[in-house]
Each structure stands twice: as C-alpha cells, then as structure tokens.
C-alpha cells in the first residue's frame, strides 16, 4: 500500500520549468554548472540549509531548457524507489520507472536533495551513472539504460551534519564536481529578499544584518544561523503587516532554537536593528 502511494507521489515530479525562476548569482556557479553539464560531469552542491541550492537547480534547468526531476531523499529511500519496481495492476505485473530512470530516459536534470539521508544502497545505483560510463543498470528488469548527453545528476549535501554516519563516502564524492554555496554576500542577500518579497531595501538590509548576527552564534548554542530562506519568510510576514520584531521571532528565532535564554539573546539582537 505504502509502495503504491509512493509511486503516485514519485510520478508527479517531472517538472518542465516554463518561466525563469529568479536566481541571483553569487559567484561563478552558473558558468561552472554550464561547463559541467556540457562536459557531462555530475555536480555536488554543498552548503547550509536555505541558501539557494534548490532555487539554483531550478534556475539552471530553465536555463538549459531541460526538465527537472527532484527527489527529496529520506532514510527510507531505497535503490528501487529510485530505479523502479514491478507493480500488480489488474493481476498483471507492470514495471514502473522510478524517478531516476525517468530522468535518464527523458534526458532531464535529476536533483537528489540531501543524498546522505538516503539508504546506503542508493549510492550503488548512482555510481555507474556518475562516472564516464553514464549507465543505469536496472537489474530487476534486465535492462541497461544509457544516459543521453543532456542528462545530468545533481546531488546536494549539507556538510553541517555532525553525524559521522552521514558523511559522504569518498568514492561518491570524487565522482562529482563540487560547487560550494554559502549565504550570499550582504548586498546580494538584501537584493534577494527585496526581489522575493517586495519589501523595501532598508528593511531588507536590516534583516540581513540581523541574520549575520545570528550566524555569529553558530556553534555557541545554535547549530545554524538564520538562512536566506528564513529572511524571506520574515519579510513576507512584515509585508503583511506583522511588526518587524514579531516577524523575526516567529519566522527566524523560533526556527533556530527552543532555548529560552538563546531566544532572549536573539530577541535583543533584533531589538538592536529594528
């Protein structure tokens, strides 16, 4: 039952992107990505949560005019979830491609978000796709898919994890060109917040300044500082009339910590800029 349900979900994920997703380049990542795509080398996106990785991939898919298949990896995701499986339909067995197989067949970009969360056996199926062979063996079906030139594999990975069990293996890592992401520079980040929410520039600058202060607390009671995503959320609330400090508390502080003293300190930081 679970499986059927999954399949319906998985079928809905091939995405043709018609309008340009807004993306503000932070460094040379666009050119790097294009070069990797042209050379048929897969890409690994490293960076903290909410810094624009997903948005970047959507943007690149639009730029390269390729469909995008996104899989959010979780700890129950197995190799057959990616590759495909047999189902019983009217007492007939039917093979259904998994998202990875569909991406290969259609020459899409395939984005495996948070790959370290997936089960270890998934790395086995992506390895042959990620080196010069560019093939996807579908053992159950006895079929070997050869990836067309347009196909590209993209992994994302947040190195902030502390768990040693979730480090990416070297054999996986070394197959990919890595693009490192971080929160955008202050002026760019403010521009992003403005573009995403329509908030005025000086408010966006204050939000960015506030974010930088929370990032100083990383490792001293916070696992992560405020991400660009959280700034966008706070600005959205403010655009709907929520007072700035309340918006910061609701959209940012409470997303970062449960510790009352930490929350008090963050609120004091907000009071310095708002």
């Amino acid at each position: 039952m679970n499986d059927l349900h999954d399949t319906r979900r998985l079928n809905a994920d091939v995405d043709r992107i018609e309008t340009e997703p807004y993306y503000e380049p932070v460094g040379a990542e666009v050119a790097l990505f294009e070069a990797a795509w042209a050379s048929r080398v897969p890409v690994l996106l490293k960076g903290p949560t909410g810094c624009g990785k997903t948005r970047f991939v959507e943007h690149m898919a639009w730029r390269l005019a390729r469909p995008l298949v996104t899989v959010s990896c979780h700890d129950d995701l197995t190799a057959s979830d990616l590759v495909g499986r047999y189902l019983i339909v009217d007492s007939e067995t039917v093979w259904v491609d998994g998202p990875l197989a569909r991406a290969v067949r259609s020459g899409s970009l395939c984005y495996l978000d948070e790959i370290v969360e997936a089960r270890k056996d998934t790395t086995v199926v992506i390895h042959p796709l990620a080196d010069s062979r560019r093939i996807l063996p579908m053992e159950k079906r006895g079929e070997l898919l050869r990836a067309p030139d347009e196909f590209m594999l993209i992994l994302s990975y947040n190195p902030g994890y502390q768990s040693v069990l979730k480090e990416l293996k070297h054999s996986t890592r070394q197959r990919f060109v890595a693009i490192e992401f971080d929160y955008p520079r202050a002026d760019l980040e403010a521009r992003i917040v403005v573009a995403e929410t329509g908030i005025d520039g000086s408010m966006a600058e204050r939000l960015v300044k506030f974010a930088a202060m929370t990032r100083n607390l990383k490792g001293s009671g916070l696992d992560e500082g405020a991400s660009t995503r959280l700034l966008v959320h706070a600005a959205q609330l403010m655009q709907r009339g929520v007072a700035p400090r309340d918006a910061c508390a609701a959209a940012i502080s409470l997303a970062l910590s449960d510790d009352p003293e930490m929350l008090a300190a963050i609120d004091e930081l907000a009071s310095a800029v708002f």
């Binding site: 189902l87 768990s163 300190a265």
Partner: protein, 693 residues
C-alpha cells in the same frame, strides 16, 4: 581601598569573638570563615559588621547570617543582602528565633519576593543572555564578570553584580544591556586604537582629562553604534540625562560618519577646562593601560594565527597552479570597517575563506579598521616568541627506552617536521576509587539516566528492512510480483516473499579520551567523572563498543595514559571504581595521547571508529615548552593523523575562557565547546548521540 583582605585564620578569630555563644565543640567558626575568606576586604567588613549586629539580637542569628552571607552577596548584592538580614531581624522581633533563622536560610524565597517587588536584576541571572547577545553583536567572544568597578579590557567587561537602580526589573535589565553595549562599542569603534596614556600625559590633571574623554567617547559611541543599530540610540538616550550645552555641541562633531577616537581627543582640549557633567549611568571608567595590554596581546596572537592560516591557503593555491614557477601567490583583501565584511582575493580571484580565517579577519578589522598590508606578506610576523619554543635536549631518550615506555614522534611546527621518538609514553591503570561513587551519581541523575537510556535505546532500535525472507512481519510486494511473473512464465517461483525488520548493526567503536591534567582540578574533574558515568549508562543501552582512557603527563619523558576501561572489559565494579579514581594529575601533552589511543582504536575491527576527547582545551606541559603554539600545532597534527588513519576524531572541550585558538587546534576534528562545566555530564551524552545518529 586596596587594603588586603583578611586571611581565613584572622576571620576565624574575629568570628569566634562575635559568635562565641552560638559555637560548640561540634560547630566551629572555621567553616564560616572559609566561606568569607575569598570575599573582598570591603565585603568581609560588611559581613563582620552585620554579623555583630545580628549576634547582639541572638548569637544564632549572627551565625546563620555569616554562614549564608557569601551566597546572599552573590545573589542580592550588598544592599539586597542588607534587606535580607533586616527582614530576618524583623521576623525575630515579631515571631521569635526559629522563624528568623528560617528567613535567613530561605535565600531563594527572598530572591523571588524581592524580584517580584522589583528589587533589581543580578548579573548571574542575565549573564548568559547578555554574553550570547554580545557574541552575536561582535562576532567574537566578550566575557562578562562581576566587579566593583565597571570597565572593559576589550575582552572582558566588568560590571556590577546586581543592578537595582530603578523600580522596574525591565529597566534594570536595560541598564545592564546598555553597559554591555557601551563597552562593546569601545572595542568595536576603536576607543583604544590610540595611545591614550600618551595623550593624557599631556594634561596637568590626567584623571580629569580621562573623565572628560570618557564622556566624549560615550557620546561618540552612542552615535556611531546608533548609526548601525538604531535600537541602541533609543537604548542610550532613554537612560542618560539630557546633554548639557557643551556636550550637545560636541555631539555635532562626534556623530558624523567615521568620527574616531582622534576626534574625541581633539575635542578634549576645549572641554578639559569646563565643569565636568555627571557621568551617564552605563558609563563605568576607562582603563587605557589595561586595555592596551590586552589588545596588544590579542593583536600579536591573531597576527600569528592569521599568518598560519594564510600560509596554508597560499600553499593550497600554489599547489593548484599549473605552473608553479611563478612565485608566491598574491593575496589581497578589501575590507569595510562599517560592516566588518571583507573580500579575500588570491591571484586576483575572490575566494571564500574558511570560517576560522573569516573570524580572525573580522576581529583584526575591529582592532585596526582594516587588515594591515603587512599581515598579508608571505614572510610572516618574524620569529615566534622565545618562550614558546621547547628547549633542545640531547640524548635523553636512551635511559627511558629501558624503562618500558613507548616512543612517539612529536610535530614541531617550526621545523615543519616530526621530532623522532621524542615522547616516552607509559600506560597504567587508574587506581580504584570509592566503590560507592558511581552508585551515588546514578542516584543523583536517576531521572535523567532513565531518559538518556530511553533515547539511546531508540537509536539502537533503528530498524532495517530485510527483504526476501522466508518469514517476516510484512509481505514483500516486490518478491510477490516477481514470483507471480515467474510462475506465469513457467519458472519455479521463490518462496522468500516476506520482509522482516531487523535491528541494524551499528558497528561503531568509540574511544573516550579524558583529560586528567592538573588544570581540571576541582569542579571540571568532578563534572568529567559524572559525564563518564552517564556516558557508560547510555552506551550500555546502546550497545556500541567503547573504551575509556585518561591522559596526563610530566614532560616529554613521562607521558601517561591511564586505563579506565578497555574495549574488552565490561562496565562492572572494577570499571566503576576506576571512574571514581579519575583524578587530576600533572600536565597535558595531548598530541602523544591522541597518537597512542588512535593506535589502540585502530586495532578494533569496526566500520566506524570514533576518538572522542574530553578536555579543557589547554595543551600544556610546563617543563619543555609544550605550552603555547607548539602544543596547539602538535595537537592539531595528531588529530590530522588520526583522521588520515580513518578515525573520526571529535573533541568536546570545556572552556570557561573561550580561548580563540580552539578552532584552529580542533579544526581537523569536529568539536563542540561547552562553556559551563556543569552542563558536561548531560551534554556529553547528548553530543555523542547526535554524532552517531
């Protein structure tokens, strides 16, 4: 003011006099005197005076008062402690001795009552919030410490133990915050970036000049910080009186963008002869000599640290070049004092520096307004201070070779090479301690242990789906479908049609390496031992294999490793007694300990191996220069070696001083900082759980 404090025996003598009627053969004044001995002379006098007053009512009251007074002073400050005693004397008059003593003992009740009545705020209550606030604000750590005078040396801000200026609690808190911000701003906006003692020496009355300068600076800092943080303008303006005409005129000049200490110094000339206005309540005093000293030390330290980091970036950049002939890579930094942002370029290309480099750069920009040109030169800041060099010793190892120690290399960062067979390491067992100790800790933490065990069991119970089993708790649809297809095409179908959930095999081995150096003496050691007990409880629930070893030493010729629990041993009585026997020993030579334990850990057959160090972060061996950069670099190198051998090193460091070399030293490992040793027992187990889930 600086009369030296009474010694414990002097105090004991005085208390004997005051309290004699309340003392007996079972109750001497010694314990009370011991509590009062660490107080300042002024506080000691306070306690003695009031003890006398109380004892005149009833000797027992005098006794109870002096026994509780040190804690009362910490909690309530002097005026609060006075009220606390007066309340008890009142109770004595109205209700008698017993209720009066109860009132004295009930410190918490008094605190609650006085808080509710708006009696002010104690530093202890707000310290953590304000320290976090300052860390967010400054991007580098500023410590808060209670003191009689309010001032800063640019790394520690000294402020009153309690503030009760206003009737409302919130307002008292705002004053604390204003003091913190004002003194942060001195470091941030460069109050000490000029040679102030030289400036002051030019005045007939330097004290007066200093007081004026302090006021002018307060105005400048209010405006400079208010520019970047509008909230601070409101904060300061709400707490200080309206400005006098002359100060209002000064503000005109001190509020423009980029006004610096030089502008305040210039204005000092004209203000010096004028009548001094009242200082603002958050101002405190300036101590330029002390600040210059601390600032100078920081600058030297950070310059060295940055040099080391940049050298590595340079080497990396050089290695990446196609043509290595073209000389040193060219470094360039653009920085902004306003925002503390900077852009680092290597050979004209912007690079994102590692976090540690970014932190150093921001700190240096705060002290200089920019990254000085010469900081980027490849030649570096010259020779390292002589006191950080180990003495060269010759031919010492022959004799120790015979006495059963193992020899280890040590990394010498100046040579960029190892000193061969430099350390001699001895392994022995920790002597057994009190057999009842572990039981007592378990009883004390009973509730938390149950929770810990439950959470760890949940980890262990992480199920794995085993597919294609003969039997199981679920149908394996893939297998059924396949069997169906096979039957249709006439093949004998498989009977393995079930999925089964199995406990996953974690296959982790962890080595706990515990600091037993002298610097852990007292509180830290007590917390370490409790942490070990909780770790054992948790790991027993989890089933990971683990060993515990302690380390300490005395010079390179006697590095000690103490066995507490080997991988093979179970958590039984012997291990428990050894945990109780963990005691502070001598110095810390961390590198060799890491190397030795890495060796032991690598002999264990496990998929994941973790070296988990627990220390107070001071690589320190007084006798042959392990202290300082040498020890830091050797520790770092040993962690790199461990990592290269396939181990995951992880460091938990208890650090009440927040030393800034930690990121560099522990860089090759993952690490966390625990700033309060009291959190160690519960935090450590939690950290381990997160590390492995």
């Amino acid at each position: 003011m600086n009369e030296s404090r009474y010694s414990q025996s002097e105090l004991e003598e005085k208390l004997d006099d005051i309290l004699c009627a309340a003392l007996s053969s079972r109750r001497s004044a010694a314990a009370v005197a011991a509590g009062i001995a660490p107080l300042s002379r002024a506080q000691q006098e306070f306690v003695l005076d009031w003890a006398q007053v109380a004892a005149q009512n009833a000797a027992e009251l005098g006794y109870q008062f002096s026994a509780q007074a040190p804690q009362a002073l910490t909690l309530f400050g002097r005026s609060g402690a006075e009220k606390w005693l007066l309340r008890a004397l009142d109770a004595y008059d109205k209700e008698g001795l017993y209720p009066a003593c109860a009132a004295l003992k009930d410190l918490n009740g008094f605190k609650r009552a006085s808080d509710a009545a708006g009696e002010g705020v104690a530093l202890a209550e707000v310290k953590r919030v304000l320290e976090l606030f300052l860390l967010g604000l400054a991007g580098r750590r500023l410590q808060l410490e209670a003191a009689e005078d309010t001032w800063t040396d640019t790394e520690t801000i000294f402020l009153p133990v309690r503030i009760a200026h206003y009737p409302e609690r919130a307002r008292n808190f705002r004053l604390y915050k204003a003091i913190a911000v004002h003194h942060w701003a001195q470091a941030r906006y460069g109050t000490f970036n000029l040679d102030l003692p030289a400036v002051l020496a030019g005045y007939a009355a330097p004290e007066r000049a200093l007081a004026w300068l302090n006021l002018l600076e307060a105005i400048r800092l209010e405006n400079q910080s208010g520019r970047a943080f509008p909230g601070f303008s409101a904060l300061f303006a709400g707490l200080r009186p309206a400005l006098s005409a002359s100060l209002a005129a000064a503000r005109e000049q001190l509020s423009c963008a980029g006004a610096s200490i030089a502008d305040s110094v210039r204005l000092l000339r004209e203000h010096y002869p004028l009548a001094l206005p009242e200082p603002f309540p958050y101002m405190g005093s300036l101590r330029p000599e002390r600040a210059a000293e601390v600032r100078g030390e920081r600058i030297a330290k950070e310059r060295r640290a940055l040099y080391t980091e940049l050298t590595q970036l340079r080497l990396a950049a050089q290695a990446e070049r196609r043509d290595p002939q073209t000389g040193e890579p060219d470094l360039d930094v653009e920085s902004s004092f306003e925002t503390l942002d900077f852009e680092l370029q290597i050979d004209g290309e912007a690079v994102a520096p590692p976090e540690e480099v970014a932190r150093l750069m921001r700190s240096i920009i705060q002290d200089f307004g920019e990254i000085p040109e010469e900081y980027l030169l490849a030649s570096g800041p010259g020779a390292y201070a002589a006191d950080s060099l180990p003495e060269e010793e010759s031919g010492g190892s022959g004799e120790t070779r015979a006495s059963g120690g193992r020899l280890y290399d040590e990394w010498d960062f100046r040579r960029r090479d190892y000193r061969k067979d430099w350390c001699v390491l001895f392994e022995s067992e920790v002597p057994q301690g009190d057999a009842a100790y572990v039981a007592a800790v378990r009883a004390r933490y009973a509730g938390q242990i149950t929770q810990l065990r439950r959470r760890f069991e949940a980890l262990r119970g992480e199920d794995r789906l085993m597919r294609r089993q003969q039997e199981g708790d679920d149908i394996d649809f893939d297998a059924v479908v396949e069997a169906y297809a096979e039957r249709k095409s006439g093949i004998e179908p498989s009977e393995r049609l079930f999925v089964q959930r199995r406990r996953s095999d974690r296959n982790i081995a962890v080595m706990f390496m515990v600091d037993m150096s002298g610097s852990t003496k007292g509180w830290i050691n007590a917390c370490e031992r409790e942490a070990l007990v909780l770790l054992c409880e948790a790991l027993e629930a989890l089933g990971d294999r683990y060993a515990i070893y302690g380390f300490s030493g005395w010079t390179r010729k006697r590095c000690e490793i103490y066995r507490i629990k080997t991988f093979g041993e179970s958590y039984g009585d012997a291990v428990r007694c050894r945990i109780a026997g963990v005691e502070p020993r001598d110095y810390t030579r961390m590198g060799v300990a890491i190397r030795h334990l890495t060796g032991i850990l690598n002999e264990v057959d496990a998929k994941t191996r973790i070296l988990f160090t627990l220390s107070d972060g001071k690589p320190d061996d007084f006798h042959d220069g392990y202290r300082g950069d040498y020890g830091i670099e050797d520790t770092r190198q040993a962690l790199i070696e461990a990592r290269q051998s396939g181990i995951h090193p992880f460091c938990v460091t208890i650090d009440e001083e927040a030393r800034d070399y930690l990121p560099h030293m522990y860089g090759p490992a993952s690490w966390v900082l625990i700033d309060d040793a009291g959190q160690l027992p519960l935090k450590t187990a939690e950290v381990y759980r997160r590390l492995t889930s």
